[in-house]
Structure formats: C-alpha cells, structure tokens
C-alpha cells in the first residue's frame, strides 16, 4: 500500500475533521460521520492524485475549487456495483421475497445508494421475470450525481457483460440475458422497458429524510462506510421508510444486530441479510 501522511495521527484527525466540516458547510455534503479508516484512505488517495502532501492543502483546494471538490466526492463515494452482484442474494429475493410481494396491488422498492444503477436494473429484470414489474415502481437514489447520470443512461461497458451474464445465470435467470440488452460497438444498452418503472433521483441518506413508504429497501454495502452513529441514524431512516412487514436487504458482510432497531426486524434470510420489519 501507499505509505503516506503525517505520522502524527492526532493532527491528521484534526485536519480531516476540519476538511469534512468544511465540505459540509461549503457544499452541504455531510461526510463527518463516515467511517474514519475508510475516509482517511480515500482522502489520502485524492491528496496523492492531486499531487499534494497534506490534508490541509487538499482542504484549501477543495474549498476554493469546485472541480477539486467533485473529484474528491468521486473518491469518497465508492461506486462499486455489478449486475446481479452476489447472485445468491437475488436468488433468495426471487424465492423468499417476491412471492410475498405478489399479492400487493402495487409494489414500491427503494435502492438506497444505487450508484450506477446496475443493481436496480438487475432488480427490474428479476421483477420482469417474476411478472410483477408492471405494478412495481423502483426508486433508485444515490448521493453521487454523476453515478446517477450513468444509471439513467442504462449503458454498460461491453467487457463487463460476460461476468454479468454469469451472475444473471447464477441468480436464477429464466430467460436469455441477451433478451434484455442491445449491444452497439463497445457498449451494451439495456432495453428501455426495464427502465420504464424506475425513478432515479438524488438522495442523501445522511442529510435527507424519508420520502415514501416502501415494501423493499435495498441498501447494500452502503452503510459499511459509515460510523456506528451514522449507521444507527440511517437505520432509523430506513426503518421509517419501510412498510409494515417490508423487507430490508443489506450487504452480505453487514449486520443489523448492533443497531437499536435490530429487534424490530425478524431475520428472513440470515445468509443473504434479508430482514423483515415486524408488524
């Protein structure tokens, strides 16, 4: 790894705190309660990319140059996603969750932290195959505007399609994956019918509030970047946004056990972290 930064952890902490405070006040993005270890790495990554040497110098640049801020944001928000990422989870959704949603007259699903939308489209495909896409609205939100832009386009680099096809197959796909896209030179474009029922909008889990009541909330590998206080806060937001007996899906390595609301959920599928809000 890269060795960087001052050995004086105390000073570094102050600098990072100041930087995050500055970002919050200047741009309204609140990273103050993100997990320190991760945010520290991301900040140092940006410092090196910018050719700087201290957090303070980055702060100076970010405060005065909006582009520098956007570059930093791009680093702080990690847009790692895949179609049918963790295929087993989608298989579990297909088997354990969708059958229970089928009886609803209208289904609302929220992908909190959807990044570039691969998972949203995967969900759309899943719902389509289960025959409930038409009565579903998927709300896909993220903090990162440029990621959302990509999500809106529904374009996927060609080189990823082999992996995605494998994922799709492993997630219990019922048709041919190529039913869902057209390819052009170098890119793959998902078919428009998949995006018909998707609403894409910016939403900041840290600062924004609940905006609807959902039957399923997918919030996978988002809260791993938060510290425990923020995690509790976001859990509250998710809980408030979940309909009774609605499902919460978090990342495979995440847990809700240590949040104050843990006992308000029953575990639907422990392996795939699917929880159900109690009545």
């Amino acid at each position: 790894m890269i060795t960087h930064g001052p050995s004086d952890g105390g000073l570094e902490k102050i600098e990072i705190a100041l930087l995050l405070e500055g970002i919050y006040r200047r741009y309204g993005y609140d990273f103050r309660n993100y997990a320190f270890a991760s945010i520290r790495r991301r900040i140092w990554h940006r410092i090196q990319m910018e050719g700087l040497s201290t957090v303070s110098s980055l702060q100076e640049r970010v405060m005065h140059h909006t582009e520098a801020f956007h570059r930093l944001i791009g680093d702080l928000v990690i847009p790692v996603t895949e179609m049918f990422r963790d295929p087993d989870t989608f298989l579990a959704l297909r088997r354990d969750v969708i059958p229970l949603l089928r009886k609803l007259p209208y289904i609302r699903i929220w992908h909190a932290g959807c990044s570039t939308g691969e998972e949203v489209h995967s969900m759309s495909i899943l719902l389509h195959e289960e025959g409930v896409l038409d009565k579903t609205r998927i709300y896909a939100t993220d903090i990162n505007e440029s990621a959302l832009q990509k999500a809106k386009e529904g374009i996927i680099p060609l080189e990823k399609m082999k992996q995605y096809t494998k994922n799709y197959q492993a997630a219990g796909g019922m048709q041919s994956f190529s039913d869902y896209y057209d390819s052009d030179q170098g890119i793959v474009r998902l078919k428009p019918f998949l995006r018909r029922n998707i609403v894409i909008a910016r939403h900041n889990l840290v600062t924004d509030r609940s905006f609807n009541e959902f039957h399923v909330i997918m919030c996978r590998n988002v809260m791993i970047y938060f510290n425990s206080q923020l995690r509790s806060q976001v859990h509250k937001l998710l809980y408030d946004s979940l309909a009774r007996e609605g499902f919460l899906v978090v990342g495979g390595k995440e847990s809700i056990s240590f949040t104050p609301l843990a006992e308000r959920y029953e575990t639907r599928n422990d392996q795939h972290r699917i929880f159900r809000k109690l009545r």
């Binding site: 991760s38 790495r41 399609m161 039913d179 390819s183 590998n221 791993i224 390595k253 847990s255």
Partner: protein, 955 residues
C-alpha cells in the same frame, strides 16, 4: 386388682353357688323320686296283690256257696275254684317275691299258714264235691272251711292295713323332707343374690372411673387441648389405666410433634420468603444489560426488604484488573449538603472496610456502631444507624463487588442469610451480564472488522478500475504527445505563414465585407428557399435510403437462400449432378455473390449520397494498413500468379489522422481492381509524397500536407476518353468488361466519394494495354468540417452546402425509422469482420437464415449438420472464433457436442452459444452445464444474436 381378676373371681363364685344349688336340688328331687317309686313299687303293689288274693279267695267262697246251693254245677265250680286258687297262689307268690320288711315277713308267714289250712280244707271240699257228698261238703264248709276262709281274708286285710300304715308314715316323712328342701333353696338363692350384688359393687366402680377418665381425655384430645394432658395423674393399674396412660403418651407425643411442625413451618415460611426474594432478584435483574443499572435496581429493591435504611453498592471495574471499586448503586444516601459525608465514588481494593471485605471476599458485620458512624435521614429528621453489614458480591469465590447496608434496628440472621443469597445471585447475574457484554463487544468488533474489510475490498475494486482507466488514458496520451509534438512544429510554421496571409486577407476582407453585406441579403433570401429545398432534399434522400434499404433487404433474403442452396448443390454431396450442372451451380453462386456485393455497394453509395456516411478520424498507423493489405491480397495475387509489392517511402510519418476503416475500404477497392484487371505482371502499392501533377486538384488546400497511396498495375489499362467514366456509378470502361471481370462498377465511385469525405481525391494515370496507376491523395490530417470554423473567404458554394446539411439535420433528424433498420443498415463492424463462426444445425432453414445474417456482417460461416461433424470441423478448420450450437440434432445432440468440445483443452475457451427451441429453465441450465457460454431461444431475433456474438467475441 385387675378388672379381669375381679370379674373372674366374682363370676366363678356365682357359678359355684349356682352349682351348689343345682346339685342340692338334684339330690332332693332324686330322693323324692325314690320315695315315690317305693310307694308305688312296694306299698301299692303289695296292697294291690293282697287285694287281688283276697278277691280270689272271696270268689272261690262264693262259688262254693253256689255249688252247695246247687246253683252251679259242682264240676264247673270246682274248676273255677281251682283256677281261682291257682291265680291267688300266683299273686301271693308275686307278693312274696316283693321286698319285704321283717315285720311284713311275719305277717306273710301268718298268712301263708292260714292259707295252707284253707287250701287243705278246700281240697277236702273239692274232693267231697267230686265224690258227690254234698252234705258232707256242706258240713265241712259250714264247720271248718268257712272259718278258715274268714281267717285268710282277715290276714289279707291285716296285710293291707299294715301297708296303709306304712304308707301314712312314709308320706309324713316325705312332706317333712320337702319342707326342708324349700327352706334350703330359699337360703341358697338369697345367698347367691347377695354374692352377685357384692361382686357388682366390687367391679363396677373401677370400670366407670376408668372410662370416665378416658372420656375426658378423648374430649380434650378432640378439642386439641393437648397441653393439659400432663396434668392427668393416672393411679389405677388396670387396663383402662393402661389405656389412659397410652392415650396420654400419644397426646404428649402429638403435642411434641405439633410443636416441632410449627417450628418447621416457621422455618419453611422464612425459607419461602427468602426464595421469593431470590427469585425476584433473578426476575428483576435478568433483563438488565448494564451492570450499573442492575446494581442500582438491586439496591433500591432489596435494601428495604432487608430492613436497611441506608445502602451502597460498589462494583469492580474489570478494565482496572479488578483493583478499583466504583460506586454503582445507592439507597437513601444523604447528599453533600447534610453533615454526613457523601459516599466515595471510587474505592481501591483493600481500602477501608469495603475494600477489605472485597479483598478478602468475606462479609463484615458490625452490630454496635459508635455514635455518629452513619447518619440516615428523611425530610423530617435524621437518626443514626445501629448496625452495619458489608457483604461482598461473589462469583465463583471471587469478589466482583460489595454491598454495604446500615440499619437502625440491626440485622437478624435471617436477613443476613437473605443478603448472602441475594448477593450470590447478583454475582451470577452480574457475571452473566458482563460476559454477555464481552461477547457482544467482541461480536461488534468482528462485525466492524468484517465491514471494514468489505469497504476496503470495494475501495480496492474501485482503485483497480481507476488504475485501469488511468493506464488506458496514459497510453493514449503518450500517443497524443508524440503526435502533438510534430503538430506543434507544423503549427508554428503554419502560424507564421498564416500571419502573413492574414494581413493580406484583412484587406481583401474589407472589400469582401461590402460584397458580403449585399450578398447577405441574397443569402437570407436564398436561405429560406434553400431551407425548403433542403427539407425536400432530405425527404427525398430519406425516401431513397429507405427504398434502398428495403430493396436491399428484400433482395438479400432470397439471395441468401440462393447462395447457400447453390453452394450446397455445387458441393454435390449426393453425387447426382453432372459436372456441367455443378458448373452452372457455381456460376449461380458466383453471380449471386456479385449481386450481393453490388447491393452492399449501392447501399454504401446511397449513404454517401445522403451524407450519412460518418467519418471517425483516428490515428491510423500506416504499417498496420500495409500489413493488412499484404495479408489480404498476397494470396489473391499469387492465385493469379501476380507479384504484389508494397512499398513505403522513408519520408512518410508513422501514422496519419484519418478514418482508417474508410481508408482500408478505398485501398481494398483499388487493389482488388488492380488484381482483377491484371493478367500477368505485378501490382505495386507505394506510399509516398505526391508529385505536383497529382496534387493538382480543386480539392487541394494549400496549408495541408498530402500523402499518396499509389496502386500501380501492369494490367489492361483504360482508354483515355473513358478514364473519367470509370468513376461514375455503374460504369466500366468497357460495357463488356463485366462479363470477363465481373464487378459492379461501383467500387471506384464509392472510393472517389470516400476519398472526398476524407479530404482527398483519386488521381488516375493510365495507358491502354500498359497498365494503370490509381493514386489516392490524402491529407495527413483530416480537415475539420464544422461550418463555424469555415474560412470566411471561402466562396459561397460550400456555405450553402453546409447550410443545407445543417437544415436537413435540424428539421428532419435524419435517423432512418427503426422499421427499416433491420440490422441491414448497420455499419459493418470490425468486431465481426473475418470472424469464423461454426454453425451447427441440421435444419436448413435455420442455416439459411443465420448464415445470411452472419455473412452480411462479414463473418465466415462454417456449417456442420450435427455434433459429430462439428467436432470434425473444429479439428479441420483452424481459427474458429465462436460456435452456434443447436441442441436437437441427429447423431450427436448439442449437449454432448458441447461436452466433448469442452473436454478438449484447445477448445475450452471458444465461446459456444446454444440455440434451442425450448424456453424451459431446465433446458437452459442443461446448456450451461454442458458447457455453453450463453443461450438464445428460437425463433432467433437477429439483433439479439448479433449482440450476443458481439459480447462473446469481445476481446
């Protein structure tokens, strides 16, 4: 004396008495019986016999009288007298047989003597009678017999008389005896009664007294008044006394038992209370999760229960290693304001009594506290505690905290015991909570670490992505840098040059401006006209494109079948065609191919005409081009025994900025033409700087460097007058040429148009019979064609063109409608070009449909009818890029074929796309399991198929 003894004595006496009376009575009665018998047997018999004898004698006397009187026959009389006398003698004899006293014997003897005399006389009388001497008999009778008869009768009477006397006397005796007997019986009866009374009086009191005592006892017993039983003094030694004593003992035992039971139930009650409290402690504290909260609720709850009015609870701090005690719960502790000092919040192990108790894990009890030791109070007043107890909280003999309680009354053992038990329970609970906390903490940490790991891995993925992008960027930047260096050099020169020009142009400009102004008006006018026309034009162009596209599509479909069928036939697998027929077939096939090519070219041309041929400039490395052409045409040339030379001048840059794809297209045209029209000799491609003659073109621009791609052949050449015609669509130099050389005659037209699009032109030098040289002149950098940057001095013509284009763009948005876009208007893609696809299917219709699509995309299609043939094809054909595999086939089905393909390491990475008519999940899974990379269902959507192939051909 026992009642039993008394009763047996009494009753035996009474029995004796009864026996006496009975035996006495019996004796008297038998005596009387004897007397009676004597009366009857002796006296009465004797009298009776005597009387009978007397009667006999009397009778005989009367008979004698009768005889004498004669009344009676003497004979009969004698017999009668004889029987009478015999009878009397018998009676008498019987009488003498009876027991006779002496006196009676004397009488009897006297009688007997008399009787004997009488008998004698009688006998004499009878004899006389018998003799008939009746007078004598009368005399005898009268003298002797009568007297003697009297005597006998009298003695008989005397005997009766004596007997009567005896009888009288004996009766007298008997009466006397009876009187004595009655007296005796009366006496004995009275004596017996008296004796019975005495016995009753003797036995009864002892029984009643005993029963009375027992009754009293039973009464008390029934009422449960057992305590008084000790007062009962039992003297009597009899059975009832024994019974009473047993009763007393039972009662006393019962009393003892009752007392013991009462004691026991008291203990049990106490134990129950304690257990209740202990159960409560568990219930109350089990739910807690924070030791301090638990500690506080413990002391609040149980200090009053234990009778304490003051309490503290300290818990050790595990973080300090257990040497520090922290105040964790208080009960009724006075604050700082009161004179009592507040409890210390931290105590070290061994410090003070609490510390000591903690250290030793032993309770400390102080029952008499010195005055002022602990003050406790309420709002109304304060008082002092009398007793203090310090109890360590233990878990497995290890102290984990201390409870201190103070009371105004003192702690009894029960409360102390309860406190001990409660603290024991509390210790367990606290330990549970602590270990739970520890486990939870560890879990939390591990969860945090897992999540951190996930975050890091995501970041890593992200960074990898970035790195890759940066790498790509860096690479292209390097290229750019290299080129821009050159460009910079050029630009400097250009700039200087332009500067000079500018000054000249400024003047021209001024003149121009006036002209322009007047022209502007015309332009505006023309513009509207043009706009209208442009719309018309665009529409027309669109219709044309659509028409062409449709046409070509409609033509292409049957043509494809034609091609494939003719090829199949020409292979003559069944061997039923003559050579001639095969040749026809080949001709059909070739002509079809030409037709197909022509349609493609028409399409290209129409696109160029419609201005829809897009140009994508890129850095084209010239070496790539030459290698590509060399590979492609050397085999073709050698097939015609021609030499193909490719040369490149040294003063030519490595790369030029142009659309490589179009450049290749032009070069292919030129080269294939050259080879086509040359029968012997050579074809040479030279890349060099152009000479002045070649540069002489209206399209030339001064400030641009040009390069020449010259294709020289030693072929038939072109007549001079026709040298322009050959560039026109559908024209060849000789109308008959096509018959010999084939071709559509569109190639050159397209090449020329493309050259124009790339900013260049094609120069032709030719001599009939000696050969031709087609030279493509291209700028080193494709000119920008945005209208805004257009030179102001340029004449109006290009302007108006640009405007039209712009107008048509903006008004129509010239995209062809998607209904026409059947994948046929797609630009050809490099991805597909020259890729070899193995199509495995036994259904000819499918083979037609698919191969036409694939071949149109410049892919090479190899067929196989079944799995086995597919494997053979894979062996014999090299460089197969992708396999399209039908599943339901004869001989060897798709599954097996795929499995066998995957078993071969060489073919492991060839993408296989399975084609199946079934849409079942199972079927799909089977395909993937068998080794298919992907899957498409029939009927096959060609766009989808192309997308799939694109994905799987991506390298």
């Amino acid at each position: 004396m026992k009642i039993k003894t008394k009763l047996s004595i009494g009753f035996s006496m009474l029995l004796l008495l009864l026996l006496g009376i009975t035996s006495f009575g019996y004796e008297r009665l038998s005596q009387m019986n004897q007397t009676m018998n004597h009366f009857y047997e002796n006296r009465f018999e004797k009298v009776k016999v005597a009387l009978a004898v007397r009667g006999e004698i009397n009778s005989s006397g009367r008979i004698m009288n009768d005889i004498m009187i004669g009344d009676q026959n003497p004979k009969e009389g004698v017999d009668e007298i004889t029987s009478r006398l015999t009878n009397a003698a018998k009676q008498f004899k019987a009488l003498s047989g009876l027991e006779l006293s002496d006196f009676e014997q004397g009488i009897m003897d006297g009688i007997l003597k008399t009787a004997q005399g009488y008998t004698k006389s009688l006998k004499e009388f009878i004899e006389l009678i018998n003799k008939g001497e009746v007078e004598q008999a009368k005399k005898l009778y009268a003298d002797k017999l009568r007297i003697e008869q009297r005597q006998v009768i009298d003695s008989m009477d005397g005997l009766v008389k004596t007997q009567e006397n005896f009888l009288k006397q004996e009766m007298e005796d008997s009466r006397k005896l009876y009187g004595r007997s009655v007296q005796m019986v009366a006496f004995l009866t009275i004596a017996g009664l008296l004796l019975g009374l005495a016995i009753v009086l003797w036995v009864f009191p002892s029984i009643t007294k005993g029963l009375d005592l027992l009754g009293k006892m039973a009464d008390r017993f029934g009422k449960g008044r057992l305590r008084g039983f000790t007062r009962f003094d039992i003297k009597s030694q009899d059975e009832l006394g024994d019974l009473a004593r047993i009763f007393k003992r039972i009662a006393l035992d019962l009393q003892v038992k009752n007392e013991r039971e009462a004691l026991l139930s008291g203990i049990q009650q106490r134990q129950g209370r304690m257990n209740g409290q202990i159960a409560r402690v568990t219930e109350l504290l089990q739910q807690g999760s924070d030791p301090k909260v638990v500690a506080q609720s413990f002391i609040s709850e149980f200090a009053p229960v234990l009778g304490a009015s003051y309490g503290l609870l300290y818990l050790n701090d595990p973080a300090s290693g257990g040497v520090r005690l922290e105040l964790s719960g208080t009960y009724a502790v006075l604050g700082e304001q009161s004179d009592a000092s507040a409890a210390p919040s931290v105590i070290q192990s061994g410090e003070g009594l609490i510390g000591q108790s903690y250290k030793d894990a032993k309770a400390i009890v102080m029952n008499e506290l010195p005055a002022g030791y602990v003050r406790m109070g309420s709002g109304l007043g304060t008082t002092e505690a009398k007793a203090l107890i310090i109890q360590p909280i233990l878990y497995e003999d290890e102290a984990i905290g201390v409870v201190e309680l103070a009371s105004t009354t003192g702690f009894d053992s029960e409360n102390r015991e309860l406190l001990f038990s409660l603290c024991d329970k509390l210790g367990t609970i606290l330990n549970n909570i602590r270990s739970r906390q520890l486990v939870e903490e560890l879990l939390r940490e591990s969860q945090a670490m897992t999540e951190e790991l996930q975050a890091q891995s995501e970041e890593l993925i992200c960074q990898q992505e970035e790195l890759r992008e940066t790498n790509d960027k860096l690479e292209s930047q390097q290229n750019e840098l290299r080129n821009s260096e050159q460009r910079l050099q050029q630009q400097w020169e250009e700039l200087e040059h332009a500067n000079e020009e500018l000054t000249i142009k400024t003047r021209a400009l001024e003149e121009h401006i006036n002209r322009v102004e007047s022209q502007n008006r015309q332009i505006a006018q023309a513009n509207s006209e043009l706009e209208r026309q442009a719309i018309q034009l665009a529409l027309t162009s669109k219709y044309k494109s659509e028409f062409l596209a449709n046409m070509s599509h409609e033509l292409r479909t049957p043509l494809n079948s034609l091609l494939i069928l003719s090829e199949f036939l020409s292979e003559n697998k069944e061997g039923n065609l003559t050579d001639k027929q095969r040749e026809y077939m080949q001709t059909i096939h070739l002509s079809g191919n030409d037709l197909l090519k022509m349609i493609d070219e028409i399409l290209d041309l129409s696109k160029i005409d419609a201005g829809k041929m897009d140009i994508h400039p890129e850095w084209m490395v010239l070496d790539d081009l030459t290698i590509f052409l060399d590979h492609m045409y050397t085999p073709m040339a050698s097939a015609k025994r021609l030499s193909l030379y490719i040369r490149r001048g040294d003063d030519i840059p490595e790369a030029i900025w142009t659309d490589g794809h179009r450049l290749k297209q032009i070069m292919r045209n030129l080269l294939s033409n050259a080879i086509k029209f040359t029968d012997n000799g050579s074809v040479t491609l030279t890349i060099r700087k152009p000479n002045e003659m070649e540069l002489n073109s209206s399209a030339r621009r001064d400030e641009i460097h040009y390069f020449a791609f010259s294709v020289n052949d030693s072929g038939i050449g072109i007549p001079h007058e026709k040298s322009e015609h050959i560039f026109e669509a559908f024209r060849q130099a000789d109308g008959t040429t096509s018959r010999k050389y084939g071709g559509t005659g569109l190639g050159l037209t397209i090449s020329r148009e493309l050259a124009q699009l790339l900013g260049g032109w094609i120069h032709l030098e030719t001599e009939l019979g000696k050969g031709s040289t087609f030279t493509l002149i291209l700028p080193d950098r494709i000119p920008e064609v945005t209208s805004s940057s257009e030179d102001v001095t340029a004449d109006l013509q290009p302007h108006s063109f640009d405007l039209t284009a712009a107008a048509s763009e903006s008004v129509i948005g010239v995209d062809p409608p998607s209904s026409v876009d059947n994948g046929l208007l797609h630009e050809r893609e490099a991805t597909f070009e020259n890729k070899k696809i193995l199509l495995v299917d036994d259904d000819v219709r499918n083979v037609f449909a698919l191969s036409s699509v694939l071949e149109h995309q410049q892919m090479k299609v190899v067929y196989a009818e079944n799995g086995r043939e597919a494997l053979n094809k894979l062996k014999t054909e090299t460089g197969i890029d992708l396999v399209l595999m039908d599943i339901m086939m004869p001989e060897m089905d798709g599954y097996e074929a795929m499995r066998l393909i995957r078993e071969n390491a060489d073919w492991n990475s060839i993408p296989i796309i399975a084609l199946t008519a079934k849409a079942m999940m199972d079927d799909r899974n089977k395909c993937i399991e068998a080794g298919a990379s992907d899957y498409i269902t029939k009927p096959i959507n060609t766009d989808q198929l192309l997308s799939l192939i694109r994905v799987w051909l991506y390298r």
